[in-house]
């Protein structure tokens, strides 16, 4: 059977289509919903979204691949996003990033073989007053020290 979004998500998308000037404008909201329900957005998921919005699948795929928040391959359970833009770099962010690489045994952009962690260097997250900062999934951590990084990674790997 073809892949489908949950009924709740489909209902939500239908509702939004009523409120937006065009169905296609519901693209990003729909892809956000799909990202919550599937580990990543493959062709089948894109097709499901395309059917709901009444647009060609390639259009959905074209959009999904443009934005960094829509994964097109499996991600670790914990996504470690360390900001490495200027203000954070001025407070040692790039050292932290290298430390995270060593601790997790992977390089930036990779996922650990057990699927627990994905590590990324990300652009300024508008929290430069708390530099260096990082996200663990949706949770923001500011003024991250090496000790704090180690502790958080340890917590996450022992399943907290």
């Amino acid at each position: 059977m073809a892949v489908q979004l949950s009924e709740a998500a489909q209902a939500r998308i239908e509702q939004l289509i009523e409120r937006y000037p065009t169905p296609r404008a519901v693209m990003l909201p729909a892809l956000h919903l799909a990202t919550q329900e599937f580990p990543y957005l493959d062709d089948e998921v894109c097709q499901a979204v395309a059917d709901l919005l009444q647009v060609p699948m390639v259009d959905v795929k074209g959009v999904a691949t443009f934005y960094t928040m829509f994964p097109t391959e499996p991600q670790g359970t914990c996504e470690v996003h360390i900001c490495f833009n200027l203000s954070c770099s001025l407070q040692g962010a790039r050292r932290l990033l290298r430390r995270a690489e060593r601790q997790l045994g992977i390089e930036v952009g990779q996922t650990t073989p057990d699927g627990r962690f994905t590590l990324r260097g990300v652009e300024c997250m508008a929290a430069c007053d708390r530099a260096p900062m990082m996200y663990l999934n949706d949770e923001l951590y500011g003024n991250v020290t090496e000790e704090k990084l180690d502790e958080l990674l340890h917590q996450k790997s022992s399943g907290e």
């Binding site: 990003l28 652009e123 300024c124």
Partner: protein
Amino acid sequence: MEPIITRHLGTPDLWRLDTYRAHGGYETLTKALQEHQPDDLITMVRDAGLRGRGGAGFPTGVKWGFLPKDGRPRYLICNGDESEPGTFKDRLLLENDPHQVLEGLILSCYAVGAHLAFIYLRGEFFLSARRVQEAIDEAYQAGYLGENILGSGMNLEVLLHRGAGAYICGEETGLIESLEGKRAYPRIKPPFPANIGAFGMPTVVNNVETLANVRHIVAHGAEWYNSIGPERNRGTRMWCVSGRVRKPGVYEVPLGIPLRDLIFDHAGGLEEGRTLKAVIPGGSSSPILTAEEAMEVDSDFDALQRAGTMGGSGGLMVLDDRVCVVQSSYIISEFYHDESCGQCTPCRQGTGWMTKLLHRIEHGEGRPGDVDLLLSMGANIFGRTICPLGDAAVWPVESAINKFRSEFDHHISDKRCLPGTESIL
């Protein structure tokens, strides 16, 4: 001076409607809907001289006046994409005081006659998304949104629209494309959004802080607003100070105060034993200032422009004497290259070449002539692209070379940073 926009920040639960109302929230809207015609509000905002806080400093009332009166529906978009490196004021407002932004937005929609508005929020602002959605829901329940708002006959729908990770969505036409469900490829202007914007309709795009200002202008009038800041540069600015200062943070001060006061008084100055080397005043794309220049310049739009740079997004980054300007330039250049949407060859390719060359110079592999090559690459990008991201990538590098040339040359001759600097890479 008492802050205006940030006055109540720090009040517990300010994001809730009750708390916001306890501090006078929505009184301005209630009064304005009874006492003013939409055109009065446009006049007020124009006479106040409010200039956009999103980057370009364009007069808001003038922008609103560009909307053609041809009966087509109009949309208003609040630009909450905040991704210019070094900028973190919109997030602060959206997380802590979303109703203030909403009230400004509703007043602005009343002024321009929009019945549908979007808050385009940066995708990674998870907490803001929750707080803004809650605020919108509360506002509907209280009758500040929806049909026949407060019995005035005004109708307004507001949708929170989350981005998904792409810097270029901050550029207004990239934002509009993204809102329409497409890749955020900026459009060639003209036509301007005021005429053909979102969904082909006349559209106003305003920054979060700009809309918050509208609320206070409507509350206290243009004359009051004109008492703050120098001529043509009225009001306050929420400066985001970060980098090598003791107290990084958002400081709301009248436009035009000396930049050095911002750094040395408000942000607490530099760490013991460090000296100021350079300042990037308005987000990472703004041309860099030497310490001497930064000590002399005032913080208003025009003064910064006269000094060859810009207030931009209000993201002020401080570099001290231990920072290598080649490294900071490389980090900035890499950012614009990564975020180029790829539509224009000079931007897509040129930013890549510049970044590579900066990397080579930084790594001690630069060759004589490389610095001039960088300048000529910049000249080939500048002004030859669809949107200003191309220029934004050139300004920081070009200005750094012009002002810190010896540091670049040193990297080529001695193959490393100046003595006394510490790597940030």
